[in-house]
Amino acid sequence: MEPLLFELGAPGRHDAKLPPVGVTERPLEELLPAGMLRQAPPAWPEINELDVMRHFNRLSQLNFSIDTNFYPLGSCTMKYNPKINEAMARLEGFAHLHPYQPSSMTQGALQLLHELERMLASLTGMARVSLQPAAGAHGEFTGILMIRAYHESRGEGATRTKVLVPDSAHGTNPATAALAGYDVVTIRSNERGLVDVEDLRRHLGPDTAAIMMTNPNTLGLFEEEIVTIAGLVHEAGGLLYYDGANLNAIMGTVRPGDMGFDVMHMNLHKTMSTPHGGGGPGAGPVAVAERLVPFLPTPTVETDGQTYWLSFDRPASIGRVRAFLGNFGVLVRAYTYLVTMGADGIVQASQDAVLNANYIKASLEDRFDVPFNQTCMHEFVISGDRQKAQGANTLQMAKRLIDFGFHPPTVYFPLIVHEAMMIEPTDTESKTTLDGFISAMRTIADEVEASPDLVRQAPHTAPIGRVDEVMAARKPNLCFTCR
């Protein structure tokens, strides 16, 4: 167990010099209102640099990470984070650019943004892309606002009040729709795990603003009737929003724009290999079809082929969704990945992602229930019902995987599968790793049959045992000095 920062150090032990002020100092009381001077310094610890480094290095050793462990996390696309991405983002000419510098000094950066926009637009079959949103959910919110602006521009803002969301959808979809002021209507999935088109028909009408979907869906299944669905929604005057979380399945094979989607976001920290960093930063660019282009956030990057500039000339824009231009450092990493993989590599990446998922499924379907057993895309969902009846549930099996050195897959999502476990291997894993995972899963299935306690009490080898989440929520201790 590693001490907290506040348990390290001692008064006066701080040993990092700062430069001298270098000018004649005036008394603080002369410069600032008396009541605004800090009375007591913050209770920050005073630690020498060596002990700071030891602290963070030791903490890092308590983590799993892609660089140390396989993460078959469904809907997260935990692919390798290339180190060249890190090096390029740190180039002086990128890292030390101030967002308010004149564009004559930032042409290289603007060019990168423009080229990235063109590549992402082409990849998704859309007309334009805003690189402003800071994360997928942020991009979703931006997209929904554009949908709303579109309907308002046609005088239908007050009547189109409903957003349709499949029951298999990720939680951000209804949360985003509600944040934008819409009522959320749930559409059922059919027995094949796909959107029930009849249920959709019943709910479509003049009050439909949009449907939010992903394809492949959260079960990893391709929505075969997507062209029909798009036609129905457009006929009813609604728009289609695509949640780009599952883009890794289809790059270079099929494009959301061609399927009929009007707006979508991408998760660069999933599909485009930018690192998760323990929870962020990400980036969630929003791509739109022609009819939504007038509503894009400003500024956009424009060019005449030689020079690049920022344009605020978009009268129907929904406005800004954040200060400055976007998570530029993340965008540099995504750009680096795209020009590395290239058009040919990106196609192969998606294909390998799909191949890997189907390989694992084929290797496990005799031991685990796979409720929707048609060909999957880049991920698939198993149900732990069989094992639950034998004595250990999905959560326990997932924790047992930790003892084998694997991060647990996504569990209990999507909600429409009991004891769900969603597995997404991604494209960057070797066959050796995949076989190791398959072997571990099969061993766990054996253990559940023969000695379920081993699974129920897992993990056994992690730095800590099972966490008391009830205590954490009942008596929150969220800050060291302020209980």
């Binding site: 209990y412 989440e469 009830v470 929520a473 009942r474």
Partner: protein, 125 residues
């Protein structure tokens, strides 16, 4: 074993008429689904509720459930003990884990609730 001195709702609330007011909580079936309750969001005393109106929230670590008024009425009391001990909802759902008291209520509203037998059938046993 469902208390027979209570009436029930489709959304797993119970009510017991006591001293002219309706004591409302959630059933053991509900708390078993939810898991350990970590927080209960209570309405303000004095708030007027319609039958079926959402008046608060019960949170566990992994799920959250809205609470719906089984009958209309004014909130005359809330169980303040739940602030420090939300687990009472699990430990003694029908007793110390009560959530609010409503008063007055109509016979019509009461009649529209589920009998113990009907609720038992709903939850399958």
């Amino acid at each position: 074993m469902l208390p027979t001195d209570c009436l029930y709702t489709q959304t797993h609330e119970y009510l017991r008429v006591q001293d002219g007011s309706a004591v409302v909580g959630i059933t053991t079936h509900a708390t078993e689904q939810l898991g350990d309750v970590v927080f209960v969001e209570l309405p303000a005393v004095g708030r007027v509720l319609q039958k079926g109106e959402s008046f608060g929230v019960v949170e566990s670590v992994k799920a959250v459930s809205d609470l719906y008024a089984p009958v209309g009425g004014t909130v005359v009391a809330v169980n303040e003990a739940l602030e420090g001990q939300p687990g009472l909802v699990n430990e003694d759902s029908f007793g110390e884990g009560w959530i609010i008291r409503l008063q007055p209520f109509t016979e019509a509203d009461l009649a529209a609730c589920l009998s113990p037998e009907a609720y038992a059938a709903l939850i399958g046993g």
